[in-house]
Subunit: 419 residues, 2 copies
């Protein structure tokens, strides 16, 4: 459905967000009717917000498929025994579980991440070197029992993410994929419109690798502190910001700038950390058993939507990049004369025919100021206005969300510009 009449959209813009909502991302998204706050850290995606998420999802999916990813959908309910294998069932070890009880006895958990689920499933299917490498991902709701949740949809108790896990025969095979994943991740952030603000950032690794790589988007709303070398586009997370690491990476302290940022994605070499407890092995060409080498690659989709709102908005509202805007253009009819209504409907019909995604503000009983304010808040990339004046001037007033002033175009020109 690439089109919508706003008069039929039940979600309405609001002047104010809930009083307890202090994060700009959630405030704008709630006021625009993109999301509904169920409670702190838990949001419903209203029709407009779901459209944004669906577009982000397709961008991520395309990139994951491009590197050979295969999509599945793991269950949210997780068995205790599976997580006991890695010692992550224990609340002393993992402090943000949501757990619940089966009626006929026994505790289960809600996915807070997916390494265990994937490893456990792959254990059933991987036996030989012929079965590897495999790259498996899913989109799913993830649950984390955060004590406080005050960053809007940047840090949810329930959020929507993509996680891919790679299962390779060797470090070498793993590293090849890991490099491909870096490119795929850069593509994602480029495509959703925040590539210019997003730095691949060295962060702490683990037993099996010196570093992991985070993708950090600069914003004062960020919870992370990073040190950016703007010349080389390299950044280092505060957690590994030591003289030794800087030397290691060939970075000079005086050239680095301290910035606040939000982690929109991360990739991590896991080595055999998870394959060992699951005894996830394969037989090589010589019939010798080896542990699978794993990597993890995560992106929070709702967080990504929130980040876009944080970094691409102005004091009037959201500014969606074309690639993830709910609709490419918002058409406004100003005035309720037969003339305007007829002309606006004609333009709407022409946009539909041309398969241009359009939301049509056909609502009656609203002032020009209200319609313009709503339009800026909602933030479609283009705005087309049909009014008595625009008709008198020979067409439709077209302007980009990022422009101050529009210009009059004919219907043909409108379609041509947007196609």
């Amino acid at each position: 459905m690439g089109y919508m009449r706003q008069s039929k959209l039940f979600s309405k813009t609001r002047k104010e967000a809930p009083a307890d909502e202090i994060a700009k991302n959630a405030e704008l998204l709630i006021r625009g009717g993109f999301i509904y706050k169920e409670m702190a850290g838990v949001y419903t995606l209203l029709p407009l917000g779901l459209r944004v998420i669906n577009k982000i999802e397709q961008i991520v999916r395309d990139e994951m498929n491009m590197v050979g990813g295969m999509e599945m959908r793991t269950s949210i309910i997780q068995a205790k025994e599976v997580w006991e294998k890695t010692n992550r069932w224990d609340d002393e070890i993992v402090d943000n579980w949501f757990k619940t009880k089966l009626k006929n006895g026994g505790e289960v958990g809600l996915s807070f991440t997916n390494e265990e689920a994937h490893s456990n499933i792959l254990k059933q299917y991987v036996n030989s070197y012929k079965d590897l490498p495999v790259y498996v991902y899913d989109f799913k709701n993830i649950f984390r029992n955060e004590t406080r949740s005050k960053s809007g949809i940047l840090r949810g108790r329930e959020f929507y993410w993509k996680a891919l896990y790679s299962f390779s025969k060797s470090e070498t095979e793993h590293n090849e994929f890991y490099e491909k994943a870096k490119i795929a991740y850069k593509n994602v952030f480029q495509k959703v419109g925040i590539g210019h603000l997003t730095y691949m950032t060295f962060a702490s690794g683990g037993t099996f690798s010196k570093f992991s790589h985070e993708f950090q988007t600069l914003t004062s709303a960020g919870e992370d502190t990073i040190y950016v070398d703007e010349a080389t586009s390299v950044a280092v997370n505060q957690e590994v910001y030591t003289d030794e690491v800087l030397k290691d990476l060939g970075l000079e302290k005086e050239k680095l700038v301290e910035r606040k940022a939000i982690e929109v994605g991360n990739i991590f070499s896991l080595g055999t950390k998870f394959s060992a407890p699951f005894d996830l092995k394969f037989k090589d060409e010589n019939n010798k058993e080896n542990l699978v080498v794993m990597g993890s690659y995560g992106i929070g989709l709702t967080r990504l939507m929130g980040t876009v709102v944080e970094v691409l908005s102005d004091d009037k509202g959201i500014i969606w990049p074309e690639s993830i805007a709910p609709f490419k253009i918002q058409l406004l009819s100003l005035g309720e004369s037969e003339n305007v209504t007829k002309e606006a409907n004609k333009v709407y019909g022409a946009l539909l025919e041309a398969s241009i995604e359009v939301i049509f503000d056909d609502r009656n009983g609203m002032s020009v100021g209200e319609k313009f304010a709503d339009s800026d808040l909602l933030g479609m990339p283009y705005r087309a206005v049909v009014s008595e004046r625009s008709i008198k001037e020979g067409g439709i007033e077209l302007k980009k969300r990022t422009e101050e002033k529009g210009s009059i175009v004919s219907l043909d020109e409108l379609i041509k510009t947007l196609k």
Copy 2:
């Protein structure tokens, strides 16, 4: 991704399902690698199963959009206060809640249905008769704490469903939509390939309507008993099978046949049962406040997939209808000679170019018998075989899953048949 090499698919067919899995649907789906059993009533959708669900989802979405439905995605975590309004928080009233605790105090639940969530959200947005009617739906995972779960994916503890709720100004407006929904539902079951076995069935209503309507698919695996009038395609659920009801519906007892069936969908007039506790009112043209009239319309997508498997399979495996098959055709290369490999890859390439969804069994080291058995188990609508024999006979052996014997066709004929 309309294509897949089976050598790259990590899920493999299995000779046996888990010993505790007694339902045919889950047995075949597990053996085929469509689903993975996490625990009783909880399944992961493996790549092939996810493809089926995605196709069912698009069929359902199209039908919901056709009747004016608007898609959103409500959270899984649900606030206690919302459900207390309808008195459905209490475990004495609803016996299949999954509940969990927030770390900073307070209980929350996991959605077991969606009336409350939708009503609560709409309460924020509906004020005037101009805001109605609205029809809102979502696809989401639903959680029900079933004591026993022995019907495979027909009755899950976690399952994937679509629910639409209608919000209307009057009984009349509600009834008009309700009739449209009946047609949309019939279309869904027709399109997914079980229309001929699915009966609209009168079932118990509630305070606000004499009957609800279930869509019941005949199968011995069904948990429901219905009485079918085959001549008129009308059915009555056992729960309302009384002389009075039969008289009411103009049915004659002696013409009805008792059958086992599974409920694949249901539609229900809710009246003001939910709008009253949420004080979900609108002002009419005379500025008078009225309660919104609601209806609910549910379909379990994973259950629907399971039902298709129950009713459309034979002793060799699954028989997917074209509309929801993971792929339209399975291409098999039999033999590993250069000649066969080259020819099979050529056919694969031609199918890709023609945008025909294909899974290519390019695996080496398997016998002809194993490949045929896997192919029957997986159940794609068409099977194309490239072998030394088929090449000698001048092409590709093509057969439908439902046919015993295939015939030799040229590559051009193959594409033409499938296009």
